[in-house]
Symmetry: C2
Subunit: 454 residues, 2 copies
Amino acid sequence: MTVVEQLTAVLGDLVDTDAAALEAARADRSGHAAPGRPLAIVHAETVGHVQHTLRIATATRTPVVVRGAGTGLAGAANAGDGTIVLSTARMTAILEVRADDLLAVVEPGILNADLDRALAPHGVWWAPDPASREISTVGGNIATGAGGLLCAKYGVVRDAVLGVDIVLADGRLLHLGHRSVKGVTGLDLTALVIGSEGTLGVIVGATLKLRRRTPGAVCTLAATFPDVRAAAAASAAVTAAGIQPAIMELMDAASLRAVHALLRLPAPAPGTAQLTIQTDGPAAAADADAIAAVLRTHGGSTTVTHDPDEGERLLAIRRSMHAAMASLGTTLIEDVAVPRSAMPVMFDEIARIERRYGLSIPTVAHAGDGNLHPNFIFEGSDTPDVVWRAADELFRAAIALGGTLTGEHGIGTLKSRWLAEELGDDQWELQRQIARVFDPLGLLNPGKVFADRA
Amino acid sequence: MTVVEQLTAVLGDLVDTDAAALEAARADRSGHAAPGRPLAIVHAETVGHVQHTLRIATATRTPVVVRGAGTGLAGAANAGDGTIVLSTARMTAILEVRADDLLAVVEPGILNADLDRALAPHGVWWAPDPASREISTVGGNIATGAGGLLCAKYGVVRDAVLGVDIVLADGRLLHLGHRSVKGVTGLDLTALVIGSEGTLGVIVGATLKLRRRTPGAVCTLAATFPDVRAAAAASAAVTAAGIQPAIMELMDAASLRAVHALLRLPAPAPGTAQLTIQTDGPAAAADADAIAAVLRTHGGSTTVTHDPDEGERLLAIRRSMHAAMASLGTTLIEDVAVPRSAMPVMFDEIARIERRYGLSIPTVAHAGDGNLHPNFIFEGSDTPDVVWRAADELFRAAIALGGTLTGEHGIGTLKSRWLAEELGDDQWELQRQIARVFDPLGLLNPGKVFADRA
């Protein structure tokens, strides 16, 4: 029997070989696609289905690509020739909510925003909020170690997971972590699985650490600056002043101009960059006033609103970034992170790289945590070599500043050639050996993360 | 040449074979000692000294026990026959403080309290606060994944480390993590090293995530309850009510009685248990009032003070616990953690185990995060078998409640026989294989954590 026949014999209708579905599984939201086409998609509905699939994969030495909603931006869930796509998108149950213990137990396929809406009546909050939260799964959030807009104040997904259940490549189920908020029993494999991008095991359940819903109103500020360096310096000064906004987003001039064009707003003055900041909690108003004062001393023109609708209107400009970039051409979204004080220098480096390679690199940043998203724009579906060379310099600049080549999107296929550069050869090899302990045959997401070095 | 001669040839006076020093290195603060005596202590002062020591250890296949201040409570730093003790206690430098980026770079031997005092003039705070903070090192804090009194609100050490530098058993130096607050580049080996108890590598440096110093006053509450179950239920109700104290400590009747006797305070009424709670930040007073109301509805008699000195006097009762236990006999301090709502049931289990084995098990708890420290008291230096049997039941009860056998002290030697019980055989074996990737010859802390199973 072929692999697909073996899968179908055990899993029946859950095995999907529809041509359009297979085609869709080749790509994620990065716009990049794996070469070739997968053998089949298994739409797992239970842990048992995941175990059956992996046992067949191991017996037949067939590579497996785990997929949630396919909203990744680094190619980690792109499924190519000869692979089984193992989808956990149908495993959407919320198994338990304990508001008193601030925890929930969920299946991996539930969407981040759906989970949070289900928690709201309990007075608790699933804080991790990738921009994709309405369309991305909790399992994918964990597998990529994703961030979001609120994470400077409320942490990333790594801070919000008490335990994960994973199925290993050979079909064994492991329960990692525990339900208590503290615990140091052996090595922290839960932390190791977070951000492992499908290379260690298949996440089939998670015990999540919740927060109380934040009471009180929010305040929203928008501030414009004559250039991006001033905006970056102002945002770093907010952090250095000891004020903690919930959201602090920076848009450079090219980004702001593109969004204004998309939304048919008046064009900003040339060079104008913008910070959009939101404060929350009992001190929201006082924090907003203190932040506005810092921004003004750094040359910002500020608008503050206590009206939630007006605040959403201000934030909508930032939220339209992805659409605005897509309107300009094919986009390669990068994701470097640097210490917050290094943001002005990082923007200088981006400007230098733009000049050197004759490129425009519109950049937005989660300025509260030093995470920048430079966007390379080009025509057609193949990333031009000049873009890769410019990206290469961008990564080196971030690493030289004490940062990293990916703050929240992951390595996937798109950054694997730079992984050893950041880790060093010794750590790269050590990490690959650790992955082999989980997956000795190398069947889980082969060619991702630890692909051969450039 | 012998191993000691080889060490001395390279490291000279840093190699210590003084009999009293070797004897002291056999034990930590658990009161338990390793059998036999180590070969020598190397007092490393630089990363290079650590690398030299480990290269000789690897060449001669000599086991190495890393030691900071020796304040551990699980035996992980106890050095027995034939081992080299590698002490990082002299590596105390603060290499960098960046208040704007909320980070510091330090050597591992600096004491937690010394670091925090050095940070105070910069307006930043090293929040992890094990009870041993005046005498324990930052490196030991990281190596054990320690907790403390404030961690329900301000996190454990795991939440406060951006990166670690480690030397592998073969002498290679690896830089794990980065200086940016976000980063998902490859597997999170920083998280894996935190709490690894000297089994993966020697921590020779750390990049720490600091907090702003909390402005404003603190409020302190003490509340007595007719029995420990009521106190436990009241503390769980505080968490469930969505109020976050900075400190919430519970003492059962036997603990409270022993401390009152030690401090020559009037004896509490039989059965009386106590909660000691501190709130901080701008809402300290309002939070304290809200907490007092919750405690009273659960049968508590409350005292609230806004006076810092009076607050310290109330907390001194809790801080005298260790001395009070020592005055009763030899102590085996346990460290189970459970979900907060399970604390009343866990106290029921402790009472049942006391009755079954005819033991008194005075227990204190970091009630804000469900971490209990049951103290077994006995005569002499050898832990009686009945204590091990009672401890065995205690661990099983905690695990059955979704908890763990160690919340903050670690596995070391004292809990290694129960590790597989909590992890399951498959995960236990996987963890041991991961340790072997770092340390293929098994030279780092052999017989600790992954010792043979019971």
